[in-house]
Symmetry: C3
Subunit: 479 residues, 3 copies
C-alpha cells in the first residue's frame, strides 16, 4: 500500500494521461483493512453476474446488432450522463436525447469536454471502468483525446467480440432480467431462450401504465389489456386480464413484477368498492383522491396476485417523474429530469402488509431514493416481515459512498440476510460489469471494516460476501 500512496502523492500536480486499472479501487486506505478487503473481494471478484432487475432492451440480445457508435452507446441513452451534461449547460438536443438528429462525433466531443465534471460521480467510475476493462481504452478522455478515443471505440464496436451476445458471455452473466410491457408478446425472450445463449434473459412484468389513472392513455391502455385477454370491462375482468398476462410472463421465465410509484401508498378495498372505483376512474370522473386510492389499491392487488402466482414484487418508490414539464415535452420521459422526494413506506405499505405481509410466498423488494428510510423504515420492516427485502441502493444512491451508508444504516438491525443482493437496474449494458464490481468492492470494504474492528470474524465475513453475490439474489428472486 505504501507504493500506492506514494504514487498518488507523487502524481499530484502532474497529469495522468494513461489509464490503468486500479486493483485496490474503492478499498479503504488503512493498509490492514485494505488487505482484508482485498482478500474478501478476491473470493467473489469473478462470480457470475446475476441481474434480476434492469432495463437492457431485449432486442439488443435477440438481434445481436453491433452498437451504432460511441455516443449512442455511452452518452445519448444514459440519463445519468445527459442530466449532468444538461446541468452543465449542454442542450439535450445536441446529445441526441429524445431522438434529435445529431452528429455523434460532435456530441462525443461535448461529452469529452465535460468529462472531468464526472470525477467522483457513479457515472464517472462506471464509464472509466467500461473504457478500461470492457473497451480496452488506455487513453484518458478529455477534449484533446476526444477524437482518438472515439475512433478507438468505434473500431472496437465493429468487431464481433463487441456485439451484445459476445459481451453477454464475456461479462459472465448468469441471469439478466429485462423490463417489459404486460402486453409484450415476449417473442424476443422466447427466441433468446432457444438460441443457446449461456445465460438466461428473463422478462419482468411492469404494469404501471395499466394501474395508474394518472398515466397518459390510461383508459385506452386498460381497454387494450381487456381486449387482448378477452375480459369484460369489470374489476374482476381487469384482475383476470392482469392474471393472464402475468401467467404469460411466467411461461416466458419471468420471476418478478416491477412497480414504479411516486408514493408507496396502499389502500385495502372490498371487491365491491374496487368495482365502483374502477368504473369511476375509467370514465375519467374520479377526483385526485380517488385516483390515488385506485393506484394504491392496485399496488395491494398486485401483492395479492404475487401471493397467488409467486412472482416476486419489486417496488421502486419516491421519484417525482418529469419534474420539468418543458423538457418532458421536448425530450420525453427518462431524459434526466426525475427528482426524488420524501417517502413513507411504513404507513404507506401498512394496508398491503396487513393483508399479505405474513404470507410466506410473498417476496416484496423495496427500493428507495430517499436514504433516510434505510435505518428508519426498510431495515426495521425487513427485520420483521419475512416478505420484505431491502432493495440495494438505487439510482442516485447506486454509488460507492451511498452503498457504504446503506450497509451502515441497514446492517445493525437487519443484518446482511434481508437484502436483495445487488441490482444494477441499468439500460447501459456495458456498465453492468462495472456496476456489479463496484458493489462487490463496496461490500468487501464494508465487511473488511467490521473484521478490522473485530466485530465479526474474517471467516464469517467470507461466508457473507459469498452469499451476497449469488445465493442471496437467487433466493430473493426465486431464481
Amino acid at each position: 500500500m505504501t507504493v500506492d500512496a506514494t504514487r498518488s502523492a507523487a502524481q499530484l500536480g502532474s497529469s495522468t494521461r494513461v489509464l490503468r486499472p486500479d486493483a485496490d479501487r474503492l478499498f479503504p486506505a488503512d493498509p490492514a483493512t485494505r488487505a482484508i478487503a482485498r482478500d474478501l473481494y478476491e473470493r467473489i471478484a469473478d462470480a457470475p453476474i446475476i441481474s434480476p432487475h434492469g432495463h437492457v432492451p431485449v432486442s439488443w440480445i435477440a438481434n445481436d446488432h453491433p452498437f451504432a457508435d460511441p455516443t449512442e452507446l455511452l452518452v445519448t441513452h444514459d440519463h445519468y450522463v445527459t442530466r449532468l451534461l444538461h446541468a452543465s449547460g449542454v442542450d439535450l438536443a445536441s446529445l441526441g436525447v429524445g431522438g434529435s438528429e445529431v452528429d455523434p462525433r460532435s456530441a462525443w466531443r461535448t461529452f469529452a469536454t465535460h468529462w472531468e465534471k464526472f470525477a467522483g460521480t457513479a457515472s464517472g467510475y462506471w464509464i472509466r471502468e467500461e473504457l478500461i476493462e470492457v473497451l480496452g481504452i488506455r487513453t484518458e478522455l478529455g477534449p484533446a483525446s476526444a477524437d482518438r478515443v472515439y475512433d478507438e471505440i468505434a473500431r472496437k464496436l465493429e468487431k464481433p467480440e463487441f456485439r451484445p451476445r459476445a459481451l453477454f458471455e464475456r461479462f459472465g452473466i448468469e441471469v439478466l432480467a429485462t423490463t417489459d410491457d404486460p402486453l409484450d408478446d415476449l417473442h424476443d425472450h422466447a427466441a433468446i431462450a432457444r438460441s443457446g445463449l449461456p445465460g438466461r434473459v428473463l422478462p419482468t412484468f411492469r404494469p404501471d401504465r395499466y394501474l395508474d389513472p394518472d398515466s397518459e392513455d390510461f383508459s385506452w391502455d386498460v381497454q387494450r389489456l381487456l381486449d387482448a385477454t378477452g375480459q369484460p370491462r369489470s374489476f374482476s375482468g381487469y384482475l383476470d386480464a392482469l392474471r393472464a398476462r402475468r401467467e404469460h410472463f411466467i411461461r416466458h421465465g419471468a420471476v418478478s413484477t416491477d412497480h414504479g410509484v411516486e408514493d408507496p401508498y396502499t389502500v385495502d378495498l372490498s371487491d365491491h368498492d374496487a368495482e365502483l372505483l374502477f368504473q369511476l376512474v375509467l370514465s375519467d370522473s374520479a377526483d385526485e383522491a380517488q385516483r390515488r386510492d385506485f393506484r394504491g389499491h392496485m399496488l395491494l392487488r398486485m401483492a395479492q396476485l404475487s401471493v397467488e402466482d409467486g412472482l416476486v414484487m419489486t417496488v421502486h418508490a419516491g421519484v417525482v417523474r418529469n419534474h420539468s414539464t418543458e423538457t418532458h415535452r421536448l425530450f420525453g420521459a427518462d431524459s434526466g429530469h426525475d427528482i426524488p422526494r420524501q417517502t413513507d413506506f411504513v404507513r404507506g405499505l401498512r394496508p398491503l402488509l396487513e393483508r399479505f405481509g405474513l404470507e410466506r410466498s410473498l417476496h416484496l423488494v423495496l427500493f428507495a431514493v430517499d436514504e433516510t428510510v434505510y435505518s428508519r423504515e426498510l431495515a426495521p420492516m425487513a427485520g420483521f416481515y419475512s416478505s420484505v427485502f431491502v432493495g440495494a441502493p438505487w439510482w442516485f444512491l447506486d454509488a460507492p459512498d451511498a452503498m457504504l451508508r446503506f450497509r451502515s444504516a441497514v446492517t445493525e438491525s437487519a443484518g446482511f440476510s434481508r437484502g436483495s443482493g445487488f441490482i444494477d437496474d441499468t439500460r447501459a449494458f456495458l456498465s453492468i460489469p462495472a456496476r456489479h464490481d463496484t458493489a462487490r468492492r463496496a461490500d468487501a470494504a464494508f465487511l473488511a471494516r467490521l473484521v478490522g474492528e473485530q466485530r465479526i470474524s474474517a471467516s464469517t465475513a467470507g461466508r457473507i460476501i459469498d452469499d451476497l453475490v449469488g445465493p442471496q439474489p437467487r433466493r430473493v428472486f426465486k431464481l
Copy 2:
C-alpha cells in the same frame, strides 16, 4: 495492531471455532487512532454502570430466582432477536413468544441455526459478549454446537453466581431504573432498598395508558387511577391523581417519568378546555383529532408536573406500535412488529417548550428512532433550551455505527454536554454490561478520531469521556 490485522487476514477462509474476547473491539483500524481510543477507553472501562432507563422486571432483582433456561433468558423475551428470526421465516410461536408452550432446547436450536444472520447486528455483538464475558462460553454458537452451548449455559444458570443479584453486583451497577405502572405499589423496589443490595433500583413512572385515549381500556384505567387516589372524575381530579402517584414514585426513589408516543405532538389548552376534552374522551365521544389533542395536551401537562415535582421527563417518540395487527393479536405487544416513522420534534414540542422550555428545573430527554432529527432537530434544540437533552441512540439505533453517526450529527452544534449519557433501555439483563461497553467503546472511537484529526486535545477528550459515563447521566437524571 499489526498482529490483529495479520490474524484477521490469515483467518480468512478458515473457520473460527473458539470465541475470544477482542480487546480492541469497535476501535478504528488506523493504528495511531486505535491507540488513542484504547487509552481513552481504559480510563472508563471499569466505571460503574448507571442505567437511568430500562425495562428489567423489578421482580428479578427482588426475588432473585435463577433464570429458567438459556432460551427464556436470551431468546424468547428479546424482541430484537425474535423479530429477525421471524423475518427469517421462524414462527414466533416456536420461540415461545406471547406465552406459547415451547421446548426451550428446540427453540434454542432454531436460534443457533440462524445465529450467523445476526452477524453485524447490535444483537449479534451483545449476545456474543454475553456468551463470552458473562457466561464464560468459549464455543462459537452454531447448529452443530447448539446443544453443547445450551447445556453449558443451563449449568451456569443453576449456580448462585448467576442469579440476578449476584450478576447485578458483578456488573458493577450503581443505578438501575425499571419502568413501572403508575398504580404499582412498588413494594419490590422498597424491598430491594431494604435488602442491602450494593446499588439502587429505582422505579420510573410510565403513564401512557392513562394519558392516551387510544390505548385499550383507557376509560377504565383512568377510573382505576381516580379510585386509587380518591379523586373526582374531573380534569383537576385526574391531574391530582397523577400528582399523587408521581409523589408515591418519588418516595420510592423515582427520578424520572417516561412517555412513549408515536408523534411528539403537544397542544396547550386552558384548564376549562382541558376539562371539556377530558369529559369527551372519557365518554368515548371524541373524534380522532380530539383524542390526539388530549394526548398532546397531557404530554404538555406532564412537563408541568415535572416542573412542579422535579421528575426528569423522558420522551421516546416515533414508533408505530403493532404495525402487524395479526401478530399483535396472536402474540401481544412488544413482539417485534414495531416500526419507526418520521418524527417532527421541532413543531410538535413547540407548545410544550413555549410553556416550560425555559424552566431551569425541567429536564426533558428526547429519544428518537428517526436519525434525521439528530442534526436537524435535537442538537439544535438541546443547544438552545437548557431543559432539553439529546437522548442516546435508541432501539434500532443503539448500535456502534449508529452511535458514531449520532455523535457526528450532534456534536458539531451541541457538543458533548447536552446528551443524556448512555441509556441501555433494555429488558435483557445479561446484555447490560455489553451495551454499556459498546457505547463506551464507540465514544472512545469517536473521540479518538477527533484527537487524531487534531480537533481536540487528548486531555480534553479524556475529561469528556470521564464525564460521559458518570457525571453526565447523574446530572441529567438528577441522581
Copy 3:
C-alpha cells in the same frame, strides 16, 4: 504522523496549557491519506478569500473603528456561542444579548468557564483558530486563564493592525458580500469602493420583510418601499419598486439577492391574481393560506427579476425562526432560538423551476439545514437544472463532519462542479479565515480519500480543489 499520534497518546491525562497551531488539523488519520490531503491543501491554503454571502456589518469596514472588547467581539453577537451558553444555563442577559448592559470581563469569565463545552463544535474550532492565528494567543482558555486572555486580546484590539480594514487586508479577502435592506442607501459600500481597500465589499439585496405578509410591519414596509421609489400601490408598482431597488444595488456592486424562508414553497399566479392577492395581504384580510401563497409567489417573482437583471438568487430555507417567543420578546431575533425543520425543495420549488429553471441566466443557490435533502433533493436538482446550485453546508451544518457528509451525499450524483463554493455566512468577522480554512481542509480530506481509494487521480483532485476555492464561487456568483 507517528510523531503526532504518539504526542496525542502521551498527553492523555496531562493537561495542555499551551495552544499551538495544528498543521494537520482535520486531515484523516491514515498516514498515506493524510499525506495526500496535505498536498492538496497546500495548493490552496493561501488562496484569496471569496465570501459571496455573509453578515458582517458594512459599517465595520467603512468606519474602521477598533473592536470594543473581547466579549463584544467574540461572544455577545455570535449566536452560535450564546445559544450553547444559554443551553448550559447562562442567562442571555448576562452575555449582553439583546442590548443588555453587562460588564464585558464578567461575561468573558462566564464564557471561559463554559469553554470546554465547545470542544468538538464548529464554534470551538473557529474560536480556537481565531485565538491562535488571528489574535496570537498562546494560552489555553479556561476559568483560570480567563482574565489573562481577556487582557491580551483587549491589548491587541487597541493596535492599528487589529482594526477591521487591516484585518480585511491581512485575511486576504478578495470579495466580501454583506446583507442589506433593500431601502439601504448603500453609502457605506460606495465609500469603501472609493477608499482603495484591496478587495471588494458588495451589498446583497435581502427583501424578506417586504415579501412576507407575516413579517412584522409588512404593510408599512411595503408602503415605505413604494414611497421611496415613487410607485403606486399596485402589484405592478410593487414589482417596479423592487426592480428599482435591485437596480440601485447592482449599481453598488451587488451580485446577488438573498431569501430566508421557512418553507421553500412557490406558487405561480397570473398578474391579475397576484394583484388581487397583493391588495388582500396589504389590507390585512388574507388568511394563512393566502399569505403563504403570496410569500410563495413572491419567491417565484424574485426568480423572474433575477432572470431580468442577472442577480444571483440565494435561498436559505428550513429554519423555524424565534422558536421561543419569550426569548424573542426579551432579546429579539437572531438570539439563538432558531431551529431547523424538515424541508421539501422538490415539490416546493417546482412552480418556480417550471417557469425559470431552464433559463441560462438564472443562478439559484439553495442552502439547507435539513441535511437529508443533500442526496435526495439538492444534488439531483443541481444535477439536472443548470440554474440550480447546491449551497455549501449552512449554519448548523457548517462544520467539518457535516461538510464531509455533504460531499459524500452530493458528489456521487452531482460531482463537484454544481456546488456554490464555500460560503461563510457569518457576522463573526474574525472567524472568516478559520471558516474558509476549515472548508478547504475538509475538501482536501474528502478528495484525499477519493484519491487514496483510487477513485480519482491525484491530478484531477488537484484541479478540483483549485476550482473550489476560486473559480467556482466566481462563476456561481458572477464575480
